[in-house]
């Protein structure tokens, strides 16, 4: 066995893992707060990606299949500023979604929420195609990712961008943990995730806290989009497949556990790269298969996922 190649594959996989982890985190945050699988999470993220794109390169000629984009002015900004701008814009979209579409359905059945998120998926996806066109856009890398920009570890190349992405993710995560465990609003968010009625009884404005939760989730989604837009090219359907992987990652780790989302993302990223490489009849086209089988298997053995809390139900 070629261990250098194995190491190289692991390093490469870790980049994708960061994408899955951050989108899975977004899903987990919303699932904890609202009990909803947000199907539109990927599209909301892609939208933020386009916002970053506009911030970065300014107006672009229309591409195949649509394109009002040529009509709006773009503002060329530096990369960090554009990402921050995109994250903020994404958070605003997330907050607005909660306020307008989710809050009125607070007492509605689960299916209604799923419907709204599917409807939102369709609307955002098609509006993006209408506005920016269906063709892929070249998106600059957040961290140096060119040839030779890497560390050499036992002969395998660990790219600066992989390290940069994980460093970024860790910084954001530390901030998130601090926010949740050490601040008033974090405590309120944890309380709302457990029981909305009781939260209201201690005077927490539940609606507003949920709105912050959605904004936070959308922020993670935006980050995922900005990380991935360079490697998979920015286009309206960019996140559809990533979303399935993120679902798998979140399920693997336990739908209500942020830590699980992180670990799940890494597992999904690794198995997506390694299994097709070493199992002969699974081609790269089928790389989604082992991930999904692993997800099913984990559900069978540990329905709550690796780190999720088991729910006890009162009859």
């Amino acid at each position: 066995m070629d261990y250098v190649l194995l190491l190289q594959r692991i390093f490469d996989a870790l980049f994708n893992s960061a994408i899955y982890s951050s989108l899975a985190l977004a899903l987990v945050i919303i699932f904890r707060a609202t009990g909803l699988l947000n199907f539109a999470q990927g599209e909301m993220a892609t939208f933020s990606g386009y916002i970053a794109f506009v911030f970065l390169v300014g107006p672009q000629p229309r591409l195949k299949g649509g394109g009002l984009a040529g009509l709006i002015p773009g503002v060329p900004l530096s990369v960090p500023l554009a990402v921050v701008g995109a994250v903020l814009a994404g958070m605003a979209v997330g907050a607005a979604t909660e306020r307008v579409l989710i809050r009125p359905l607070r007492n509605a059945p689960e299916l209604s929420l799923v419907n709204v998120s599917i409807g939102l998926l369709l609307v955002i996806n098609s509006l993006m195609a209408q506005w920016w066109g269906t063709g892929p856009r070249v998106f600059p890398a957040l961290f140096p990712a060119g040839a030779g920009q890497n560390f050499n570890i036992f002969g395998a190349r660990l790219r600066y961008s992989t390290i940069g992405v994980w460093a970024l993710l860790f910084v954001v995560l530390v901030c998130l943990i601090f926010l949740l465990k050490r601040t008033r609003i974090g405590l309120a968010f944890r309380a709302v995730s457990i029981n909305q009625t009781n939260s209201e009884l201690v005077g927490i404005p539940v609606g507003r806290v949920l709105m912050y939760g959605w904004a936070l989730a959308a922020g993670f989604g935006a980050l995922a989009a900005c990380i991935s837009a360079n490697s998979v090219l920015l286009e309206p359907n960019m996140m559809l497949r990533v979303l399935v992987y993120a679902f798998a990652a979140a399920t693997l780790g336990g739908l209500d556990s942020p830590k699980g989302a992180l670990v799940g993302g890494v597992i999904v990223g690794l198995s997506q790269t390694l299994i097709p490489a070493y199992v002969p009849f699974i081609g790269f086209e089928l790389s989604v298969l082992p991930v999904l089988i692993a997800m099913t298997a984990v559900l069978l053995v540990r329905p709550a996922g690796l780190y999720g809390t088991k729910r006890v139900e009162r009859v």
Partner: protein, 242 residues
Amino acid sequence: MSDDVIDEVGLVARNLHASYGAVEVLRGLDFEVAQGKVSVILGANGAGKTTTLRAICNMCNSSGDVTLGGQDISRLGTAEIVRRGVAHVPQGRGTFPELSVNDNLLVGAYVRKDKEVNDDIDRWFEIFPRLAERKEQLAGSLSGGEQQMLAVARALMSRPKLLLLDEPSLGLAPLIIEDLFTRFINLNKETGLTMLVVEQNANLALDMADFGYVIESGEITLSGPADQLKSDPAVQEAYLGA
């Protein structure tokens, strides 16, 4: 004189109606809790006791006038009512099972912005030493009685003007209930906290209360000072097992 009157005014509810769908549960209740006093609402299952408390906090489809200390609170949202000084210990206790005991108390103080929150927590730990021992434990792992204590402490962390208790005796052993009610009485005597208690356990509740109401099918059928109610033959027959 006017100051005196406002001081005396605790909670006043007038013509309180509530319904779930087409079913009318409360049909025009009038009751009040004087400042610093304890009122109790007695009634059988399904009489509308819990709904009454929910209606005060605007947690159900209700109409009517509710004033607290002379201020109209009937059109405010639940969170805002809590901020105005109503603490509600619901049936099922309203604690957060997946938060630690300490966090539960912190959440209870969510509406406060002063610096004395931690002092208050220490005070409750003194009063309920069992909770202090389990400070870092998850609330869900406490026993029923401990959870009820935590629920009360959690509610009082907001330094309320009015405490609403929904069947605090439910599911607890008789000895623990007595202990709990003694604590309630002491609380009222020491801090002058206004309380509205909903109970089926009429004996204990009337011992503790200054004033009592009996509701049946969403209407008040009897009311009067607690001693008087206790000797009322109808109450004795229906609730005191005489």
